[in-house]
Amino acid sequence: MDVDTLVEPGAILPDLRANSKKQVLQELAGKAAELTGISEREIFETILGREKLGSTGVGNGIAIPHGKLADLDRIVGLFARLSRPVDFDALDDQPVDIVFLLLAPQGSGADHLKALSKVARLLRNRTIVDEIRATRDASAIYALMTNAMAQNAA
């Protein structure tokens, strides 16, 4: 499972504007709805439900909201770099400016978790994250992530 199967170049938002956690999730749900054809409301409810179990902010300004959808046929990733960090109730209290949304089909079990931990490991790499933060270009971000994944795999 590579990053190019998780996220397409078109699913990268290099400069998303939002004022709150809720708005970030809403924007991402809207974009995901465009990509998957599933209703924005369903996606939003799903990822908001997951946030209620505990913030998906993993620290260092990174959040990985995720959830499972019944009508999805593949794992879909969506990446956003926020123009301004927002509070995400993260464990380390740092505002978040890097968000990776991961949606998976209902029955995807192990694949869902594997994809999640892959993303978590990728974003734990400080150098990559710093480089992504310095970029405002979707294709550059895509290239950075694909490279990093390839290195991680090796």
Partner: protein
Amino acid sequence: MLESLYVLILVGTILIVVAAFSSLLAFRFGAPLLLLFLSIGLLAGVDGIGIDFDNAGLAYFVGTIALAIILFDSGFGTRISTFRLAAAPALTLATFGVLATAILFGLAASYLLGLSLVEGLLLGAIVGSTDAAAVFFLLRVGGITVRERVRSLLEIESGTNDPMAIFLTVALVETIRAGSGLESVGIDVALGLVGQMTIGLFGGLMGGMMIVSVIRRLAIDRGLLPIITLALALSVFAAVGAVGGSGFLAVYVAGLYAGNAKLSGGPTIKRFQDGLTWLAQIVMFLILGLLATPSQFGEILWQSLVLAAFLIFIARPIAVWLCLLPFDFQRREMAFVSWVGLRGAVSILLAIVPLIGGLDESRLFFNAAFIIVLVSLLVQGWTIANVARRLGLVVPPQTGAIEKHELELPGSPDHELLSYRVVDGSPVARGERIPRWARPSLVIRDGRSMRYQYAGRLQAGDYVFLFISPRYPPLLDRLFARPADLSPDDAEFFGEFTVDPAANAGALAEAYAIPLQPEEAAMTVSELMMSRLGGEADYGDRVSAAPVELIVRQVGLDGTVVAAGLSLEPERGRGSHIPLFFSRRDLVAGVRRLFSRPGRQP
């Protein structure tokens, strides 16, 4: 005559000073400190500088007193809650475990050294117990935090298994001296054991009550308090021993009782005993090192090395596995417990018993035991931290460094005066307020004192004085601690995501496809974790909820989980692949698989 007395004292004190100083080196290099003391004794001894010390009786006398002091202190420092946490498995190890180790080892020893079976068993009994001093030292000072349940188990085991080994050794020496074989070891020996332990237990309890009531009643100079405590403890040891009980068990139990009695002078006594325990250890190891004659080791060197390996890799693991099987321990926990089977001074001390008893092969026993202890300290002592890390049993530090002093207050065991130094980067230095219940009273800044209300925001370097109940310091520690340095490994340890312990377990199960028992679906995540942990959650505990794993990040005062993490890749390379120490759960699963297999075939 007088001159030689001075020389003796001079040599003795110099040895102690050298040994004490060498501890600085040992801390730096992580070498097992006790090994160092032993080596200094060896170096000074007959094959080194040439001090010819050959008084086995004196060595045994000094060693016995030193061991009694160490055991009293280890009981005194064990909290009763810790004791309860691990008492059942620890006591199984301390009794049945010692016996099983001694028997397994005895069989191998009598084969390898060409001894009779009784003599082999004697050597097994001599090396049968783990060493309290070594285990305590390596677990507490070794710079690692091992998970509480495992640490308690090991500490209590090492504190309580000496009486069993001592009893077996003495009984076997008697048997051999009487010229009889194994067949004479019968029901009376077993009864003797039960009698000794019972008298030891009750004598210790009564002794503990006596110590507590004496200390409570005596209005005595603070400086004398620890001395009286110690003298009383040793008198309990001696009295119980004199009436045929196990003095070592008694002195441990007395320490356990007195240490948990919330004595007003407790901290003073503890501080004194810490120092004295060090001295006892140094003296014990020095004297035992002096007594040894390394030039004789050659005769039985390879046999002893093989036996040491047998003890470490076969006898102890089997004994541990058999003892812990009825309890719910994970494989890696059992592996670690068997690795921390450190032998130490007690074994060498017991090896003197045959010398005193005048057995034919007594030197052989002593030398073999000595080599085995050396190997154990060297191999196991040096690798404990690494093994714990490998097995995933090291808990990342909960907080960073704290600078804290406790001051005793006269007449109020329910309150204490705490002083914290505000360190850079701690929550209070970043502006967090101290809660009112902590009663912050005084701030000392740049040598000037001021009331807390007027001190404004605390600055690094301030000293804050608080007047609180001893129940609360864990919360305060967090406020005054430097943030813990967590490595990426630690981040993995606590799981990628946070989970709200108050959230509904059913919702969590749905999000990650965790199969739950029907009754678990209505629980909160905290309740689910506690129930799967068997009722007690502890910082760093991992709860299997396949396909994920839940980790206790923080426990509240009432014992519930107040912060939890979720790991997506449970047990990555953390010892679950060890092909040994199958836990009860593994065995049940294995049996089920065995029986279900034929059914599945068409």
